[in-house]
């Protein structure tokens, strides 16, 4: 097993799960139309990270979070609560930070969705992602994709945000491991880096 495999899988055989495939997974729709009267299926296309991805025969009640994770091969957004109370599912929809668990996937048609997987190029890290790595802001990692999407959004919208503004901007992102200290440090680090780059 190569070093990169061990890094990437975190303990699970890669044969079971490759989150970076291009293809939509699909296929979970219920096959029997007779019994499907109250399990209606929809087919539509979503724009995710700049690509148009088909969603075929998906139960109409599926959240954007579910579709991203289970049908579109983008399991980076996480399912810690599925009621909009934790931020782990945060994505950008038409440039606004939203909880994808509270978005009906079939209603996201026509909107541009950006997930954690779309923040940097293949195999690369954005400056926010790199700061999280270097400042020790990652422990279990479950809150991290949502946290990074939220802070990326903040820094793009409000580069000079104060510490208090930053705390309020991520007040919908819970972390249970870190106590937020190193996450705040990552924010400050990126802010300084970017302001030096502008100078």
């Amino acid at each position: 097993m190569s070093a990169s495999d061990a890094e990437r899988s975190g303990g699970v055989s890669d044969a079971l799960h490759d989150p970076t495939t291009e293809d939509s997974r699909g296929g979970q729709g219920y096959p029997d139309p007779e019994g499907a009267r109250d399990f209606p299926l929809e087919t539509y296309v979503l724009s995710v990270n700049g690509r148009d991805l088909p969603v075929d025969d998906a139960w109409v009640g599926e959240s954007l979070l579910y579709v991203l994770r289970e049908r579109l091969g983008q399991p980076g957004s996480k399912n810690a609560c599925e009621q909009g109370e934790c931020g782990s599912c945060s994505v950008l929809m038409d440039g606004a930070l939203v909880a994808s668990c509270c978005v009906l996937a079939a209603d996201a048609v026509g909107s541009a969705v950006v997930t954690v997987e779309g923040l940097a190029g293949e195999g690369e890290l954005s400056d926010v992602q790199r700061a999280f790595v270097e400042q020790g802001a990652v422990q279990c990692g479950f809150c991290i994709p949502g946290m990074i999407v939220a802070l990326t959004d903040l820094l793009d919208r409000s580069p000079a945000a104060s510490e208090l503004e930053m705390r309020e901007a991520i007040s919908g992102n819970l972390c249970r491991c870190t106590g937020y200290g190193r996450i705040f440090a990552a924010f400050r680090h990126v802010q300084e880096e970017r302001s030096h780059a502008r100078a």
């Binding site: 097993m1 190569s2 070093a3 061990a6 890094e7 899988s9 975190g10 303990g11 699970v12 055989s13 079971l16 799960h17 989150p19 970076t20 296929g27 219920y30 029997d32 019994g35 499907a36 399990f39 139960w59 994770r69 289970e70 399991p75 996480k78 399912n79 810690a80 599925e82 009621q83 109370e85 934790c86 997987e117 890290l125 992602q129 790199r130 999280f132 790595v133 400042q135 020790g136 990652v138 422990q139 279990c140 990692g141 479950f142 809150c143 991290i144 994709p145 208090l164 705390r167 309020e168 007040s171 819970l174 249970r176 491991c177 870190t178 106590g179 937020y180 200290g181 190193r182 996450i183």
Partner: protein, 774 residues
């Protein structure tokens, strides 16, 4: 205490490269890219979704379960109940009293009754709803005190354990006596990654399980027993784990998923919703504690008496160990020449309780530290001075009669913490968002009073009371494809976020001088690493990795020595080179590996401990860790709202092997202590959980966490790898008490219950029990 049986090289102080540095986590890059596979991210073609049916009643007889409707539903592959188990119908960490599915009797709200497998999670949910269970609802036993003598709600009785501790002269009386009764509410681990995993049936009739857990081997053993499979046919691999904090030490969906996989012959994925998660794992024991402290006029402690009842809920889990810890450490980190403790862990129809970070020491620390403040007030003494005066030291005896032989820098922790700078005085012009009430903007600065509080705590590291605690590691050193040495470390250590994956690499690099260290996935193909709990993995699995590296080093030294016609004792492995001690001649590690890979497998056991005798006496613990906390709070008294302004801490860590990781563990542990102090409680009424969601089970947000000032006391612990102590639990033990002490200072309220609720501060007569259901 007998010296640990370890090779001589183990205790040799090596300032090895990499150890002691803030090496970055190897799994951070995939985690920040969203590519790290957590247990809930697993996917395989053809998989079906499992879901559990749970009892809506805390206590009921099951008269019948009709699954025919569910089985007939489209997309449903299987429905299973206890009738479908081929082996044991119960499991458990200490006693196997917890049914896989309720055994004709439901004993807690949410107890599993059946499980289904279906094509889509929504179909599985509908199938669960279609399962008709006929219950005869029974009156739940919810009063833990009454449970001690009440008719048993289980054949094994209602008392999991009574620890009776008598030390010195338990009748000793002091000049000054203070008494108090305290209460701790039920906290939840609330790890963000939901209970989840993927069970895949194997060709040989066994099953493979990818799961988030704290202890692979104990999970495997329980699954094997319940499915009547030999252990070798139950193969577990650790899937990415989104936190644990004790809540994954007991089984949740493991047996259910494996059973469904074997019945359907399909891979089965189970993912709990957050709501189900609140029902699906054990919680921290709520407790009622009575204390009476005796001291001399000069503040010297004379006797500590305590009686405490921990509500363990429906099944044993790890209650017998929790109450033991609570009892052993009941007095706090102070020398007391006499003691009387009666600790009860009891069975009720409340939600089952078990391990959570701090494991019994949290509850007693809250009460004991409140007592110390009360004592200080009665003596007219400064609370910090009183603690310094009585602080434990090496060679002191604990309440269990055990003499502390390891490091015990309690005075250093207290002094260092007290010396950390206080925050600046409250600024009258500060943004209202920084005052108590936060975004609700309920207070102006003149509505707010500031208070400062102090608390100290301690507990054991690793497992105690005669348990043969060990971890295993296999290290393999060979030439990689590029011709350079690469080490592979195979340990079953559950990485739940604490950073062992980083440390394992640091240790291997330091011990072998090899840059490239690969971690084999944690699974049951190697020996047990023990539990990721009790702050033990740095010491135990770190020790196992170190020993295995030493074993590898022995062999390569032998090869190099043979090469140079020397004795192995004449050579050292230093920074990738096998050199003579005078540095004159050397063989590269790569050359030494040309003959083939070298592999070593070792177990690290910590020094043996003893069980407690009938007086609660015995050398029950291996190593101890201490921490002091100081909290500054702002309180809006009229509304009872609290803002924690700063927490300062000094922690006894032995040696920092990775400063960045230590920093993160301390900040994270303190956040959980803050949660228990002011906002976290599973509200249980008549056995029912009232708030199984993040809407009403409140975790601290980024607007709730204050800056944390931390300083470390590094006195290396002999017998611990590199002298390092585990750091995970001490931050959670006394941070709660410090915060409540600060609120008392600001408000003058006695505040004998945690979490402190606004009612307790704002109303003239504070409530003494959980709010009644409407």
């Amino acid at each position: 205490m007998p010296a640990p049986s370890l090779p001589a090289t183990f205790t040799r102080r090596r300032r090895a490269p990499g150890l002691g540095e803030s090496v970055l986590r190897p799994d951070a890059p995939p985690k920040v890219r969203g590519e790290f596979a957590f247990s809930s991210d697993l996917y395989v073609d053809g998989m079906v979704w499992g879901k559990t049916v749970r009892s809506p009643y805390p206590h009921a007889r099951i008269l019948g379960i009709d699954i025919t409707g569910a089985l007939a539903m489209p997309g449903v592959h299987a429905v299973v109940t206890q009738e479908d188990l081929w082996g044991s119908r119960t499991y458990g960490l200490e006693h196997h009293d917890q049914p896989v599915f309720a055994d004709g009797m439901v004993r807690f709200h949410g107890e599993p009754v059946a499980a289904v497998a279906a094509d889509h999670p929504e179909l599985a949910a509908r199938a669960c709803a279609a399962i008709a269970v006929e219950y005869e609802v029974l009156e739940p036993l919810v009063d833990a005190e009454a449970a001690i003598t009440a008719p048993p709600i289980h054949p094994d009785g209602n008392v999991f354990r009574h620890v009776r501790l008598r030390y010195g002269d338990p009748e000793a009386i002091g000049d000054v006596v203070v008494e108090g009764s305290y209460e701790v509410g039920m906290q939840d681990q609330a790890f963000l990654g939901p209970e989840s995993g993927l069970a895949v049936p194997s060709e040989d009739g066994g099953v493979e399980l990818f799961v988030a857990t704290q202890w692979l081997h104990v999970d495997r053993d329980q699954i094997a027993a319940c499915l009547n499979l030999p252990r070798e046919k139950v193969r577990l691999s650790l899937a990415g784990t989104g936190g644990a904090f004790g809540g994954r030490e007991d089984l949740s969906m493991q047996i259910h998923a494996c059973l469904l996989a074997l019945v359907t012959r399909r891979p089965v994925k189970m993912v709990y919703s957050r709501e189900e998660s609140f029902f699906g794992h054990v919680h921290r024991h709520p407790a009622k504690l009575w204390y009476r402290h005796h001291a001399r006029r000069d503040g010297t402690l004379v006797n500590v008496e305590s009686r405490m009842v921990f509500d363990g809920g429906a099944y044993t889990s790890s209650s017998t160990a929790v109450i033991s810890n609570a009892s052993c450490f009941a007095a706090g980190p102070y020398y007391v020449p006499n003691g009387r403790v009666d600790g009860y862990a009891v069975r009720t129809n409340n939600p089952p309780c078990g391990a959570m970070r701090g494991f019994g020491a949290v509850q007693t620390s809250f009460a004991a530290e409140a007592q110390m403040d009360k004592l200080a007030a009665a003596l007219g003494m400064d609370p910090v001075e009183l603690r310094l005066k009585n602080a434990l030291k090496t060679h002191d005896q604990l309440l269990t009669g055990q003499v502390i032989t390891g490091t015990a820098p309690v005075q250093e922790c207290i002094s260092a913490c007290a010396e950390l700078p206080l925050p600046p005085a409250a600024d009258p012009g500060a943004d209202l968002m920084t005052l108590p009430g936060g975004a609700g903007r309920t207070a102006l600065s003149h509505n707010v009073r500031r208070g400062v509080g102090f608390a100290v705590g301690f507990k054991n590291l690793a497992f105690s009371e005669g348990f043969d605690d060990y971890s295993s590691a296999r290290v393999r050193l060979e030439l990689g494809a590029d011709g350079e040495p690469v080490a592979t470390v195979h340990v079953a250590t559950a990485e739940v976020g604490q950073g062992f994956v980083t440390l394992a690499q640091q240790i291997a690099r330091a011990e072998l001088g090899v840059g490239s260290v690969v971690l084999h996935p944690a699974d049951t193909q190697v020996g047990s690493a023990g539990s990721t709990s009790a702050s033990r993995q740095t010491m135990m699995s770190g020790g196992a990795v170190q020993m295995a590296c030493a074993g590898v080093r022995e062999v390569v030294l032998e090869r190099a020595a043979l090469d140079l016609h020397l004795a192995p004792a004449d050579m050292v492995l230093d920074d990738g080179e096998l050199t003579t001690k005078d540095g004159g001649r050397s063989v590269s590690l790569a050359d030494a590996l040309r003959a083939g890979p070298v592999e070593a497998y070792r177990e690290f056991h910590h020094a043996p401990t003893d069980p407690l005798d009938e007086d609660g006496q015995g050398n029950a613990h291996w190593s101890l860790a201490f921490a002091a906390h100081r909290a500054v709070v702002d309180v809006d008294e009229e509304l009872g709202l609290v803002r924690v302004v700063q927490i300062a801490t000094a922690q006894d860590i032995g040696r920092a092997l990775n400063p960045l990781a230590v920093t993160g563990q301390i900040e994270g542990g303190i956040a959980q202590g803050l949660g228990l102090a002011v906002m976290e409680e599973i509200v249980v009424a008549d056995g029912r959980i009232r708030n199984p969601s993040f809407t009403d089970y409140l975790l601290p947000t980024p607007l709730d966490m204050p800056p944390v000032l931390q300083t470390w006391i590094e006195q290396p612990e002999r017998g611990a790898p590199y002298g390092a102590k585990g750091v995970g639990e001490p931050p959670t033990i006394s941070s709660t008490g410090a915060i409540v002490a600060a609120i008392r200072a600001a408000t003058g309220r006695p505040l004998t219950r945690i979490p402190v609720r606004p009612d307790d501060i704002a109303l003239a007569a504070p409530a003494t029990s959980t709010p009644a259901a409407s």
